[in-house]
């Protein structure tokens, strides 16, 4: 990884430490290791009540009546509320306002909130839930997403006319969004048969990606405190304070300024905190009882309390010339959005526009559907839309390479995009995209030692099955696989995405000090560190305080789409520049430089104002005295376009990111067990802001991709989640996760602050197909379902029924 060195200006013994490119400690690190960091579930007040949620036991049912009287009679219960008690709007939603605060008329998924309780002890609240009588008429679930997308006779999840339709998304029936893309001959109306004739070799494939859970460790939780002005203060773990506020306030019938949010400690997010969970419920109960109300979901409830990654079924066809040149590709993807839209429209936008991946293909036809079913709602998870498509197109590239008898890396290099290429929406990749170089670097990384070179007998901890001691090396086959993923970074499709930062420079205790205030959600990624680094670099001041994030400053947008270093980083940088300009104006006012002295020759470093020609002019402490300089700035990225609804053309994305993975696996081909031996990544991040935190993002994302490749799937049968626990939904442990070598490239994006590229998502894309490809390489099995199951490896059919 590149290191940053800066030459000290004349007259300065040292430059400002811990700026961008360094790896300073997290400002919240000490509190997090002493146990004092206050997460949303740690909030506590003397007279607080505990909230609890009654959820639908059925995936699809009509509500005939709700009787709360039994619950109200229980001592210790302060309130029992239903949809009738929602003070304002009855529905909310991230993109479409289609989700009831509390169910009315119908329930559309198992686990949908129906009633809420506040009591003096969590166990009392739980028992009160048991005393609420709900009369249901059970309806047939709408479980098959493909049927929901394509069969006009499929029963509707949302009654016709009950919601406004989004024409720009081709919304109709159970389709939340349908996005076609047509390029080349397909745009001219050619049929697949006609285009197929142009190719020498054709491969088809059907692939599935299971429903993955974000499985953050900090459960949905928060504390709502009623305020004297009739409003409410909410301490909450979320990814975007202002979008929560925008959804909560209308449902409470309150103006936005009466609903004040402060970010409590966030125990991971990964997309699962984009939607509301207990926010409105806690505020309703607090306003109703006049007491603070705390909610904490347990792990089982958490599986019902947030959206998941959309399960996908995909059908691909790729045609190529004998030399491997891609000629055409078709893709059909159906994404199961479940009962409510959540982020489904955006997920369809990503899955379609990036549906063929980072390859030059002249003729492309894509049909992407996001649908309503009565399955659990699905929405944002790290890499959304792109993760599912990446498993499909990378599986196809391996299949095509096998058909052609080509090396899979060579085939990818032959068709790789680069700067100046256009993706299938017509959008030019107008930033460096050294995909061929990245693939070569991945291939050249050192391989782990061959099994045969290791001492016998093998340490069982190094084998598939591990300490279960299922093999001593017999039946173990090694495989190697590659994956490449292309991800859009920042928000897309015409959304005016921005972030706000307030920066204050003043002298405290004789030393210059900077305060940075934003509403951006620190979810673990380390944005708090990066904000401080930017302020140090821009203002040359080491002492930086990051204020808690809250709604007293403008929106920062979401901690999603790998966008915060870019957007909130950009806002902090811009606000710092505004502060710096005022410092330089002060320097001129004091006559320290001549009038007309260009700002470009001045800089701030080591707490001093420095002139390129004359060295140190004055210390900030002396210059400012008692004066504080404060500036607030919004940072917007360049505008993007909607995809047109018929051919899917338009420059819809802000920035592209890419990661290449090479996976090495050992497979017990008799038991169907896999041990990932190595999972190495090459990623171009434009500019490394914090080498250590960057590694944490790449390795963490790679591990989540490993989970999707080999173990993580929410099992849903007829709308019912069968494994809502960490006993039955398995995420990678330290034994499942291999050493992960990373190779980081820094080709700057000229459009982005410091040239950086969002880094958190791309590795989540490529890790999954690389691992599955390695297992295919070891076993020779087609493996079309992620996660790969033991029965897929040993080749037995799953149990029926």
């Amino acid at each position: 990884m590149a290191s940053t060195s800066t030459r000290a200006p004349v007259g300065l013994s040292s430059v400002t430490r811990d700026g961008i490119g360094a790896s300073p400690r997290r400002p919240d690190g000490t509190l997090k290791v002493t146990g004092e960091f206050a997460y949303s579930s740690d909030m506590w007040m003397e007279d607080m009540l505990w909230g609890a949620t009654l959820r639908s036991p059925h995936p699809h049912a009509e509500i005939l009546g709700i009787d709360v009287s039994g619950a109200l009679r229980l001592p210790g219960v302060y309130a029992v509320l239903t949809h009738e008690d929602v003070p304002g709007e009855k529905r909310y939603g991230l993109e479409y306002r289609d989700q009831p605060v509390l169910a009315f008329g119908k329930v559309r998924y198992k686990g949908e909130p129906v009633a809420i309780v506040a009591a003096d002890h969590p166990e009392t609240a739980r028992r009160a839930l048991e005393r609420i009588k709900v009369d249901y008429r059970v309806l047939e679930p709408v479980s098959d997403a493909r049927r929901a997308a394509l069969d006009p006779d499929c029963p509707l999840v949302h009654e016709e006319g009950s919601l406004p339709l989004h024409e720009e998304h081709n919304q109709r029936g159970n389709r939340v969004r349908y996005q076609p893309i047509r390029t080349g001959a397909f745009a001219d109306g050619a049929s697949v048969e006609e285009v197929r004739a142009l190719a020498d070799v054709v491969v088809t494939g059907e692939y599935e990606v299971g429903m993955q859970d974000q499985a953050f460790l900090g459960p949905e939780s928060g504390l709502a405190v009623p305020a004297e002005d009739g409003g409410v203060d909410l301490y909450i773990a979320t990814q975007w304070l202002h979008v929560d506020q925008r959804q909560i306030a209308p449902c409470l019938g309150l103006p936005a300024d009466k609903v004040r949010l402060t970010l409590a400690g966030v125990g991971g997010a990964f997309g699962a905190r984009e939607d509301l969970s207990m926010q409105i419920h806690a505020c309703m109960l607090a306003l109703h009882t006049g007491k603070p109300v705390k909610f904490v979901y347990n792990r089982e409830e958490s599986f019902f309390g947030h959206v998941h990654r959309h399960p996908a079924t995909m059908r691909y066809e790729h045609g190529a010339k004998r030399d491997g040149t891609l000629v055409y590709a078709t893709m059909e993807i159906v994404l199961d959005g479940g009962a409510y839209a959540s982020a489904t429209p955006a997920v369809v936008g990503v899955a379609s526009s990036l549906g063929i991946g980072p390859y030059e293909v002249p003729h492309v036809s894509v049909d992407a559907y996001g649908v309503y079913t009565t399955n659990p709602p699905c929405g944002a998870m790290r890499g959304f839309g792109a993760v599912q498509a990446c498993f499909g197109y990378e599986s196809q590239m391996d299949r095509l390479a096998a058909e052609l008898g080509m090396d899979p890396v060579d085939l990818r290099i032959k068709n790789a995009v680069s700067q100046g290429s256009r993706i299938i929406t017509g959008q030019e990749i107008d930033m460096p995209m050294p995909m061929a170089e990245m693939l070569r670097r991945a291939r050249e990384m050192p391989l782990p030692p061959d099994r045969s070179s290791l001492p016998a007998p093998s340490d069982p901890r190094t084998l598939p099955g591990g300490v279960a001691n299922t093999s001593h090396g017999e039946g173990i086959v090694r495989g190697i696989g590659y994956g490449v993923g292309l991800k859009n970074l920042c928000f897309s499709e015409g959304f005016d995405d921005y972030s706000t930062a307030r920066v204050r420079l003043e002298v405290v205790g004789g030393e210059p000090a900077v305060t940075v205030h934003t509403a951006a959600a620190e979810v673990g990624q380390g944005l708090v560190t990066v904000k401080g680094q930017i302020a140090r670099t821009e203002l040359g001041v080491e002492r930086v305080t990051i204020l808690p994030s809250d709604t007293r400053v403008g929106s920062a947008g979401s901690s999603s789409a790998s966008r915060q270093s870019y957007m909130t980083g950009g806002a902090v940088k811009t606000a710092c520049e505004a502060v710096r300009e005022r410092v330089f104006a002060l320097v001129r006012e004091r006559g320290l430089v001549e009038d007309g002295h260009p700002d470009a020759l001045l800089s701030l470093s080591g707490g001093k104002v420095v002139s390129a020609a004359e060295g140190v002019l004055i210390s900030l402490a002396d210059l400012l005295g008692g004066e504080a300089i404060e500036e607030t700035r919004e940072y917007h990225h360049r505008p993007t376009q909607m995809l047109d609804p018929s051919r899917g053309q338009g420059s819809s994305h802000t920035q592209f990111g890419m990661c290449v993975h090479r996976a090495v696996v050992d497979v017990d081909v008799e038991l169907g067990l896999v041990k990932v031996v190595a999972l190495d990544a090459v990623q171009d991040v434009g500019k490394v802001m914090h080498p250590q935190q960057l590694a944490g993002q790449i390795q963490g994302a790679s591990a989540q991709g490993l989970g999707l490749a080999l173990m993580e799937e929410i099992q849903v049968h007829d709308g019912v989640i069968r494994n809502p626990s960490f006993t039955d939904y398995l995420i990678p442990t330290i034994l499942d996760t291999p050493p992960m070598r990373i190779d980081v490239l820094e080709h700057p994006d000229p459009h982005a602050p410091y040239g950086l590229r969002g880094a958190g998502e791309p590795p989540t894309l490529s890790s999954t197909p690389a691992i599955v490809a390695a297992v295919r390489n070891a076993t020779g099995r087609p493996l079309t379902h992620a996660p790969v199951r033991p029965e897929d490896i040993v080749g037995i059919d799953p149990p029926q029924g």
């Binding site: 000490t30 290791v33 974000q214 460790l217 991971g268 904490v296 250590q692």
Partner: protein, 173 residues
């Protein structure tokens, strides 16, 4: 019911404890020690790991009444005791921050206690710095969703090396 036990060297008493409450709940909600975390409350994730009479346990699986008369040590008791401002982090705590093993931090308290236990069982008993396989095996009950575990392994190794150096050299590493 009333439950009395020792936490981090201090005698504590909790009143009006409902018999169904876990040790984790009593620590977090009744004793003002929320450092031990409530991530799964079914013994799968290790975020609530504490010492109970010197043995690491998931405090979510221990009924509060079972702690009666016993000694509990939580993440809040790992740092040197003393004034908040002057308190020094333990080598394990220090290493986790330094090595970048902390992201969201929700798994961190449990991992710190379990790592403290590993170092005590190895370096603390006159043994060597644990190798990678030992580290992975000992921490297998602690889930982390953010890091992919690489930086955690770095942190454990760093803490063990420093503890060994301190033991062998006599002074602070």
């Amino acid at each position: 019911m009333r439950v009395s036990f020792e936490v981090n060297g201090h005698e504590v008493t909790a009143d009006n404890v409902w018999p169904g409450e876990s040790l984790l709940y009593v620590l977090r909600e009744r004793l003002g020690l929320p450092g031990s975390k409530n991530a799964c409350e079914q013994g799968e994730c290790g975020s609530c790991t504490v010492y109970l009479d010197g043995v690491t346990v998931c405090s979510c699986l221990v009924a509060a009444g079972q702690a009666q008369g016993r000694a509990v040590r939580t993440v809040e008791g790992l740092a040197e005791s003393g004034d908040l401002a002057e308190r020094r982090l333990s080598p394990v705590q220090e290493a986790f921050v330094e090595a970048g093993a902390v992201q969201c931090g929700f798994c961190t308290p449990g991992l710190l206690v379990q790592t403290d236990d590993l170092i005590e069982r190895t370096v603390g008993q006159g043994g060597g710095v644990p190798d990678e396989a030992e580290i992975r095996e000992h921490l297998a009950g602690n889930l982390c969703r953010c890091t992919g575990y690489e930086k955690i392994i770095d942190a454990v190794r760093l803490a063990a090396e420093r503890t060994a150096a301190q033991r062998d050299g006599g002074g602070p590493a």
